[in-house]
């Protein structure tokens, strides 16, 4: 163990991060089991609170939370609720202690006077702290899997990934929280069947129905509310406390008073899971103290509407999955808010069976993230996670309606094409508006991207044909490409959603964030390139071991030359760029081979299971091969 710690060449350890509304956790897999790492607070749970000192210091965790009532405006809690939100969104106008930079900015910024951090930057501070804790304990940290609520839309996911990049993490994957929890349970119990995951966190609610079958976790449906959680329970209590304190009018609800009430509400809520009645001392307006009594029965009545909302999402998820509650083999509880006794009872009534909670509901998501990070880093094939798109994707039509192109609960990665034509002579461009959500009217949905597609050759109306492809990757992130079909000009546009950060912006934020400036940044890029090169060398060697017979002699020689160049660059180059160019040359050299290897994998997947007579499956395989020979190169 000691040797490990002092070995400068210790292998990078992949980590899993649960970036929660209330608490964040970092975990990794040790000896085949997920374990939480100790955070700067000395515990696995790091309160997701960031304090920005007037003099420029940044604190994270419990030390930051200590400022919550003293400097509420400079102490940001529950930042997750602001991820991917615009300044004008409803969420920013709810009961809370913060001031926001006014305007129509695509991202929320907290107004701290001297500083105006965005939600992405605040989250990045939490991630940086977790990364540092991991570094202290693991010496060398590799990629990270970061979890997100299943019901997060594209904007919220982009923001989370950007926060990871700003924190200097290599984000291997964004993993849905319920899927992560199922992964932790599934591997622990080795039980197949149909499960529901009920995940009520600090600020988000998710429900996921999934089937677990010999290592394949197939999500059938997911639903939820990305602004519903334990915070809302606190607000229910805090509202009543504020009234009792004499702070009825908005002008009396200063950030300090609101913050005191929210803090007291949280304590009262926690205490009420053990006691039927909780007494809390509160300061009274104009001095003195008052005693506030929280009765569990009252609290349960106040949160009933919130629970009903989760019930609605659950019923819809069951319907989308086309299953009855009685068909479920188990219900898994996730999230700190499921500690509330009334929540457990509600889940039991809803699904008609006692829920499982034997893995700590605060840690189970981080465990799942660590397992997935470990599986990805080891290139393991034990487990396959088949997740779904949480919210429908659509394009705004001429009348302001929505043309759905991919419905919710489509298995990802997913893709769809839509063809457009010009409506005027010599029209050379189109405006497209991509939205996400279930509503019929585009303005009621989340706006993901507005963009102009140009480069159409001038032709009579209706002749040019523009095919737009929408690809959703394994992280549920959208990529849009457009190709003009008629002229054979494959003009292709990669569209970046407006709220996401460009690579340059992230680099700039990274440089600014680093204490030692440019040279450290270059060094880090070099190290990242070395890690990437090592990974690709390993992957290529593995491919040699299994599929060398698919290579022609000349091709093999070319790949071996490219391999050698990558190896040399990785060990001796002082510039990240020279490693990257060697890697991309290797990429080119292996392209045709990769296509043949993939065809072989497809054929063996198809031939592996007997779907009828033997000659029939041979005929299918030949059909697929013939088809791929025709179309296999379309990626280029």
């Amino acid at each position: 163990m000691l040797l490990d710690i002092f070995d400068p060449k210790a292998p990078p350890q992949a980590i899993g991060i649960d970036l929660g509304t209330t608490n964040s956790i970092v975990a990794h897999v040790r000896d085949g089991r997920p374990v939480p790492l100790t955070t700067c607070d000395g515990t696995p749970l790091l309160p997701s609170v960031v304090h920005y000192g007037v003099e420029g210091s940044v604190l994270v965790g419990r030390t930051a939370a200590a400022y919550a009532t003293r400097e509420p405006e400079r102490t940001i809690a529950s930042v997750k609720r602001f991820m991917g939100r615009a300044a004008g969104d409803v969420e920013t106008k709810r009961l809370g202690a913060y001031k926001f930079v006014p305007g129509d900015d695509a991202v929320v910024r907290f107004d701290l006077g001297n500083l105006r951090p965005s939600a992405v930057e605040v989250s990045a501070e939490i991630l940086k702290s977790l990364k540092q804790s991991a570094l202290d304990q693991l010496t060398h940290v590799g990629g990270a899997v970061i979890t997100v609520p299943a019901y997060f839309d594209d904007a919220q996911r982009q923001a989370t990934r950007d926060a990871g990049r700003v924190a200097g993490l290599e984000v291997l994957r964004l993993l849905n929280e319920p899927t992560a929890a199922a992964l932790a349970y599934g591997l622990d119990k080795r039980q197949n069947g149909l499960f529901a995951v009920y995940d009520l966190g600090g600020g988000t609610f998710d429900v996921t129905i999934l089937r677990l079958d010999d290592g394949v976790f197939q999500v059938k449906s997911t639903g939820g509310d990305s602004a519903l959680g334990g915070d809302d329970m606190d607000r229910e209590i805090a509202e009543r406390m504020l009234t009792a304190m004499g702070a009825n009018e908005p002008r009396l609800r200063t950030p300090e008073v609101v913050s005191i009430a929210l803090e007291a509400a949280r304590h009262a809520k926690h205490a009420s899971t053990e006691a039927a009645e909780v007494n809390i001392e509160l300061p009274k307006r104009g001095g003195g103290e008052l005693r506030f009594v929280l009765r569990r029965g009252d609290f349960e009545d106040w949160i009933q509407p919130l629970l009903e909302r989760t019930g609605k999402s659950c019923r819809r998820a069951l319907r989308d999955a086309e299953v009855e509650a009685s068909a479920l083999d188990g219900v898994i509880l996730v999230g700190g808010s499921t500690r509330v006794p009334r929540v457990r009872a509600f889940v039991q009534e809803l699904f008609g069976k006692a829920p499982l909670a034997d893995i700590d509901p605060d840690l189970v998501v981080a465990y799942g993230a660590a397992i997935q990070a470990d599986l990805l880093a080891r290139d393991s094939d034990e487990v396959l996670l088949l997740d779904v798109l949480p919210l429908s994707l659509g394009i705004e039509t001429m009348g302001g309606g929505v043309d759905k192109i991919l419905p919710r609960n489509t298995t990802i990665p997913a893709g769809a094409q839509a063809t457009f034509t010009t409506y005027a002579d010599n029209q050379t461009g189109f405006d497209l508006h991509v939205v996400q959500g279930e509503r019929e009217i585009a303005s009621d949905c989340r706006s993901l991207a507005r963009f102009k597609l140009g480069g159409i050759p001038p032709l009579p109306a209706g002749v040019a044909r523009l095919e737009v492809s929408f690809d959703v990757d394994e992280n549920s992130l959208l990529h849009v490409k457009a190709v003009e079909l008629t002229t054979g000009i494959t003009q292709s546009v990669e569209v970046k959603p407006s709220y996401g950060l460009t690579d340059e912006q992230v680099e700039q934020m990274l440089t600014e964030a680093l204490d030692h400036g440019e040279s450290d940044f270059e060094l880090r890029r070099l190290r990242d390139a070395q890690v990437e090169a090592t990974r690709i060398l390993l992957a290529t060697e593995k491919a040699f071991a299994s599929d060398a017979d698919l290579l022609e002699d000349a091709e093999r020689a070319r790949i071996e030359r490219a391999l050698l160049a990558v190896r040399q660059a990785a060990s001796s180059a002082s510039q990240a760029a020279s490693i990257q160019s060697a890697v991309s040359a290797l990429d080119d050299a292996t392209h045709g081979w990769a296509g043949r290897r993939m065809n072989r994998a497809i054929q063996s997947a198809i031939a592996g299971k007997n779907l009828g007579a033997v000659e029939r499956s041979v005929a299918h395989a030949a059909g697929v091969e013939a088809h791929l020979a025709k179309h296999g190169d379309h990626e280029r």
Partner: protein
């Protein structure tokens, strides 16, 4: 890409959905981006494209309307809304009556009546699917007849979607 070829199954309207699911899973094991996470950029992009094709094919074949259209496409018959023959007056009448019943349920918030309506239309869906199975199995089939049943299925599906959203709204 032809969805039957993408999944390597015999083209037919009547499919064993369990086997289809198994095939989809086996192909996903080979193609899912997580399986290519440590590969080079080009290979990752290729795997992503193929995984999307397989998922898209699975989505098409699970859905009776799109499955029927894929079968017609193999026979060179264009399909889709607007290419289908006009509905018979009897069918249109049936449509109108059901729509009225749905509107009434929305007003009366009668959960049992809504369930009954959904059950009835579900029965119609099953009937149309059986007819399509027979028609596709015949050596010489009538494209026009098939298109008519596809149009009916499309209508029933839309009706069920609307009923589901009413159920969302009310209960």
């Amino acid at each position: 890409m032809d969805p039957f070829e993408a999944l390597g199954v015999e083209p037919a309207f009547s499919l064993d959905l369990g086997l289809l699911e198994q095939r989809h899973r086996d192909l996903s094991r080979a193609l899912h981006p997580d399986r290519h996470a440590s590969s080079g950029v080009a290979e990752r992009r290729m795997a992503l494209g193929r995984a999307i094709e397989v998922n898209e094919a699975f989505r098409t074949l699970k859905d009776p309307v799109r499955r029927a259209e894929a079968l017609l496409a193999r026979r060179g018959v264009a399909s889709g809304e607007g290419k289908e023959p006009a509905a018979s007056p009897a069918f249109l009448l049936e449509v109108m009556e059901r729509r009225e019943a749905l509107a009434e349920v929305r007003q009366s918030k009668d959960q049992a009546a809504l369930a009954r309506l959904i059950g009835e239309v579900g029965g119609e869906v099953a009937r149309s699917e059986r007819t399509l199975t027979e028609q596709f199995a015949r050596a010489a089939h009538e494209s026009a007849e098939i298109l008519k049943h596809i149009a009916e299925l499309r209508y029933y599906r839309r009706f069920l979607e609307e009923a589901a959203s009413i159920s969302d709204e009310l209960f």
